[in-house]
């Protein structure tokens, strides 16, 4: 990796000043940034460590009024938080399946949300869109881990953050502070589909810091993930859902899917199926089917279509009924 200047400020203001310079990067757990730096995908001149900033740590609030997560909170704190486990099982499940214990101990809420895609063309230095001589390497090559939605565009990577999928389902917001002050955005607004090479998939600008994530009180929520390995693997696809119930009837639904698009994929098609219905496993299955109607897989990832249908269905069943038909015992 390229040599860089290092600073470890203790306040957000000091951090923002340091991040103001050209080509600076925030460093939290480093589980993403350092790998990218070693592979020369990202070569910052200055690295600003944010875990010493007290303001950015900790989990506050409760199930009724909502909770706030500091951006530098390690993922393991979420896993060990009984309040989160009870109120936001979607977040708890998604987080507890990230990486390994070691990775969850090091990595943070902010770092997870703002990690860069794992697309193997991007990580090999071919850029986020994976183009070579005007051709998409992804389209012509091995796209087993790539997107199945919006595949007529150039951005075929998938958004890497499990946390984002859960937080968007939970309708969470993020506080971002920069040289121009502070703004609060919906977590889904942290992401966009880049239109050309060089444009980031993240809306947080260089020089800005994500400081907090706020989660409102939630309805019945849950997540379900499909993966190849049990140990230390990424989801192939995952879904997090959040249903507001009026009696037995679903009055509001949020269905978000991981591993299918360059952004955390909000499935309005699935949500439309759910709203106004009484919950049943059949309704969950219908929502799963609706979720994949617009899928247009690439040459090697058609398998993600039935898999996505399943994880949406199972996330819904898990959210409402706890235990699922697929679980043994």
């Amino acid at each position: 990796m390229k040599a860089f200047e290092y600073a470890a400020p203790t306040t957000v203001d000091a951090a923002l000043k340091l991040l103001g310079g050209p080509n600076a990067a925030a460093l939290a757990g480093g589980t993403d940034l350092l790998g990218r730096a070693k592979d020369y995908v990202t070569s910052p001149d200055r690295v600003v460590y944010v875990k010493e900033i007290k303001e950015l740590g900790g989990i506050t609030g409760d199930a009724k009024s909502g909770m706030t997560l500091g951006a530098a909170t390690p993922l393991s704190e979420i896993v060990h938080h009984s309040g989160i486990r009870e109120a936001y099982p979607a977040l708890w499940q998604a987080t507890s399946e990230i990486g390994s214990i070691q990775i969850r101990n090091m990595s943070t809420v902010g770092g997870n949300l703002l990690q860069r895609p794992r697309c193997w063309y991007f990580r090999a230095g071919f850029g986020l869109l994976g183009m070579k001589d005007g051709q998409s390497l992804v389209r012509a090559g091995d796209n087993r881990y790539h997107a199945i939605f919006q595949t007529d565009g150039d951005a075929l990577f998938v958004s890497p953050s499990s946390l984002a999928v859960a937080l968007i389902a939970l309708d969470a917001s993020a506080k971002v502070r920069g040289p121009k002050g502070e703004r609060t955005v919906k977590v889904e607004e942290l992401y966009r589909v880049p239109r050309r090479e060089g444009e980031s998939e993240l809306t947080v600008e260089p020089g800005e810091l994500l400081t907090h994530v706020m989660i409102p009180a939630a309805g019945k929520n849950g997540a379900y993930e499909a993966r190849q390995k049990q140990a230390q693997d990424w989801p192939l696809v995952m879904s997090a859902v959040n249903l507001t119930m009026q009696g037995d009837t679903i009055s509001k639904a949020r269905v978000v899917i991981y591993g299918v698009a360059p952004i955390p994929w909000r499935s309005e098609a699935a949500e439309r199926v759910l709203v106004g219905k009484k919950f049943s496993p059949e309704v969950a299955a219908e929502a799963g089917t609706a979720a994949v109607e617009a899928a247009r897989p690439l040459s090697m990832n058609a398998y993600k279509v039935p898999m996505t249908r399943t994880v949406v269905k199972r996330a819904l069943i898990r959210a409402v009924q706890g235990k699922g038909y697929w679980e043994e015992g």
Partner: protein, 716 residues
């Protein structure tokens, strides 16, 4: 002929590795842990392209960077680079960072050439050539009897194309060594190798020294699996860099990317197989056409049919498709795991087609002419019992109705693993009672150090911990390179010979000191010297009688202590989620013979390790090449998937070791237990989900694709 003791006190017991605690506690110094004084760090520059010519190379900037002590060009202008990872140049610098920066400062102009990295690309009409003379090399074909006629008259036939991808060795310690020179004429190296004796010769040649001027140490090493027999370009390059830097030691270990790309692979294998059986369930014909790639090296030499060699009619054709990717190397039981998958999948499918229990079908088709057949016949019922075959196994497709299905599968394997003459072990008994065993072999995980100590302890009536078992040093008597499961069967006989002769020499020298006993009256057990049925002295007291002269004997290979040829069977129980394609292996049962087992504990650990490696082959591993850029896309440990602790199922290991099996003497066990695991897992998955998954590994993608194809074709 020599014989192992009939009622041993150490041999056959469970003896913990002598260096187990050192390894488990991190105290063991592996070659990559060694930091001799004045150490420089080496780094390799390797090709980012699959096929290119070096137009120009400029190292001037790199040479002037701080800390850089030596720069060596390996592929000068005009050289053709044939794969991502091919060696171009190397640097030695004061720090690792400086070395890596210097590598990036070397300026190269490439003429990028068209490449072929997949078998399809390689075999296409008019494909760019990897080497002059065409990409496709016809391999060994075989015909026996009249396969077409026999197929036509078969009562049931199956026909399918089965595929297993290329994988790599992924040694946890990457390839490499640290090497330095003292003066002009002496070199010392610490190498991660499975051939400590041979690698000294490689380095001597690179340095224009005699073999004896180079001492190589391999006290410990972090895995080779067949890929670490030579010093390789990077090793000899390190030696040359050291020479250029005035002899300062240079540490050169590959990064993971180059390790994956350039340091060996197990070739892929695809075969289109027709197999037919008669009404009684006897296989009558096999017709197979296969192809594979081992990059710029050899492809798979498919043994088809595998194990069931008694099939009366068969024809096999195969081709090796050269590709622009690092060359294959031997990998734990070369050719066998692929051959096992291809054959055992077809055998299983044919049994299902006939409506026969695949276990009975296998028993029916064992080769009557093979010495392994009685072994399989004995092992299969043991394995069936341990996996619960009779109670649990349901016919394919009749495994229930829910989304999670469980299934059972099995497969058979065979291997050689015999000992070779020509290697030596020395034994020195010192007057203070200490005993040194020396040989230039190494412990690649098979327990060589412990096993040599056990043999000595057995013969001298001592404990293995009382023996100094000295290996991993090229200046010791020539020892065996660890390949082909030959280390134990090759090194045990000369060890036995050396220690027996040393003991007899001891008896001769000291007998008179014990009531004028005759040497033939003496024996050793329980740490005592015995004369005529009485303990007369402790081991130490006996040795003291040697005065000032130790006994030193070099042992040679003796006949009668080792042999070759093993058979084994493995069973897998899996659960498969039909909706997500996720496969979980619940249990593996491995039954293995290997003659006389010296250390049951290290033996079992070989089998566990083999099964885990086979599980990775069955579920996770595959080299992914990008057709357009020609690069390996997963040269890491993130997308090159390997099991973690939670992926490991219950593994039940049983030695098949009745008295007549012990009479077969010592046979190696390093390779056989990894052969049939992946085949058994694939068969279990097909049993669970009701359709054959023809492509390994059993990933969710391959499972869901197989289900989708079957449902399109109306089969499920």
């Amino acid at each position: 002929m020599a014989e192992w003791p009939a009622s041993p006190s150490v041999i056959g017991k469970r003896i913990p590795r002598l260096d187990g605690l050192l390894k488990a506690s991190g105290k063991a110094k592996y070659p990559s842990d060694v930091h001799p004084k004045g150490l420089l760090f080496g780094a390799m520059l390797y090709s980012p392209h699959a096929h290119a010519k070096v137009k120009s190379i400029d190292t001037k900037t790199a040479e002037k960077l701080p800390g850089v002590k030596a720069v060596l060009v390996i592929a000068g202008p005009g050289t053709t680079l044939r794969y991502h990872g091919d060696d171009i140049a190397a640097v030695a610098a004061e720090t690792e960072e400086q070395a890596r920066d210097a590598i990036r400062a070397i300026k190269i102009e490439y003429d990028v050439l068209p490449h072929v990295v997949t078998e399809a690309q390689s075999m296409a009409e008019g494909a760019p050539e990897v080497f002059k003379g065409g990409n496709v090399k016809k391999g060994r074909g075989q015909t026996k009897g009249k396969p077409e006629d026999a197929m036509a008259s078969a009562a049931a036939t199956i026909e399918a194309t089965y595929t297993v991808p290329m994988i790599t060795h992924v040694c946890l310690e990457t390839h490499g060594l640290t090497v330095g020179l003292e003066g002009e004429k002496k070199a010392t190296a610490w190498a991660s190798t499975q051939n400590v004796y041979g690698i000294a010769g490689d380095l001597a040649q690179a340095l224009e020294l005699d073999r004896g001027d180079v001492t190589v140490y391999t006290e410990f090493m972090g895995g080779g699996f067949g890929s670490k027999f030579n010093a390789d370009v990077w090793g000899t390059t390190a030696a040359k860099l050291s020479k250029m830097a005035g002899g300062r030691p240079v540490k050169m270990f590959l990064d993971r990317e180059q390790e994956h790309c350039a340091a060996g692979n197990r070739p892929s294998a695809t075969a289109h197989i027709k197999m037919g059986a008669d009404r009684e369930g006897k296989i009558v014909s096999v017709i197979a056409e296969g192809h594979s790639t081992g990059g710029v090296g050899n492809g798979t030499n498919m043994i088809l049919p595998y194990v069931y060699r008694g099939v009366p009619h068969y024809s096999v054709g195969q081709a090796n498709a050269l590709t622009n990717r690092g060359g294959s190397r031997a990998m734990r039981a070369p050719n066998h795991p692929q051959s096992c998958i291809l054959t055992e999948a077809a055998v299983d499918d044919l049994a299902e087609k006939l409506g026969m229990d695949p276990l009975e079908f296998r028993l029916k088709n064992l080769d009557p002419g093979s010495p392994m057949t009685p072994i399989y016949q004995a092992e299969i019922p043991i394995g069936a019992e341990l996996i619960g075959w009779r109670e649990k196994r349901k016919p394919r497709g009749k495994t229930g109705t829910g989304p999670i299905r469980t299934g059972l599968g099995m497969a058979l394997h065979t291997w050689g693993g015999g000992g070779n003459p020509g290697k030596q072990v020395s034994c020195t008994i010192h007057p203070d009672g200490s005993v040194d065993i020396k040989t230039a072999t190494q412990d690649i995980g098979t327990g060589a150090r412990t096993i040599l100590a056990m043999i000595a302890a057995e013969i001298l009536g001592l404990q293995p911990t009382e023996i100094n078992s000295l290996i991993g040093n090229s200046s010791y008597p020539p020892g065996q390179p660890s390949g082909g499961s030959t280390t134990t069967p090759t090194m045990a006989p000369p060890c036995y010979d050396a220690v027996t002769k040393a003991r007899d020499a001891l008896f001769k020298k000291v007998a008179s000191a014990f009531n004028n006993a005759r040497p033939e009256d003496l024996s050793l057990k329980q740490g005592q010297l015995w004369a005529g049925g009485e303990p007369v002295a402790s081991w130490k007291e006996a040795c003291r009688k040697l005065g000032t002269s130790p006994i030193s004997v070099t042992g040679e290979f003796v006949d009668g202590l080792s042999s070759t040829g093993v058979g084994g069977c493995q069973f897998a129980e899996v659960s498969v989620d039909l909706e997500t394609g996720e496969v979980k292996v619940k249990k593996i049962v491995a039954i293995q013979d290997s003659g006389l087992i010296l250390d049951l504990l290290t033996w079992e650990s070989q089998v566990y390790g083999g099964v885990i490696m086979g599980l990775n082959y069955g579920l996770f591993e595959e080299v992914v090449m990008d057709p357009t850029s020609g690069r390996m896309l997963n040269p890491d440990m993130e997308w090159y998937k390997l099991a973690g602790a939670s992926d490991i199922p219950e593994i039940v290991v049983r030695a098949y070791s009745p008295p007549d099996e012990k009479g077969r003497q010592v046979i190696g066990v390093g390779e056989p237990p990894t052969i049939s695991t992946a085949a058994a897992i694939g068969n279990a998955v097909s049993n669970a989900i009701g359709v054959r998954v023809t492509e390994w590994p059993m990933s969710p993608r391959n499972v869901l694709n197989a289900l989708a194809t079957a449902s399109r074709e109306g089969r499920a």
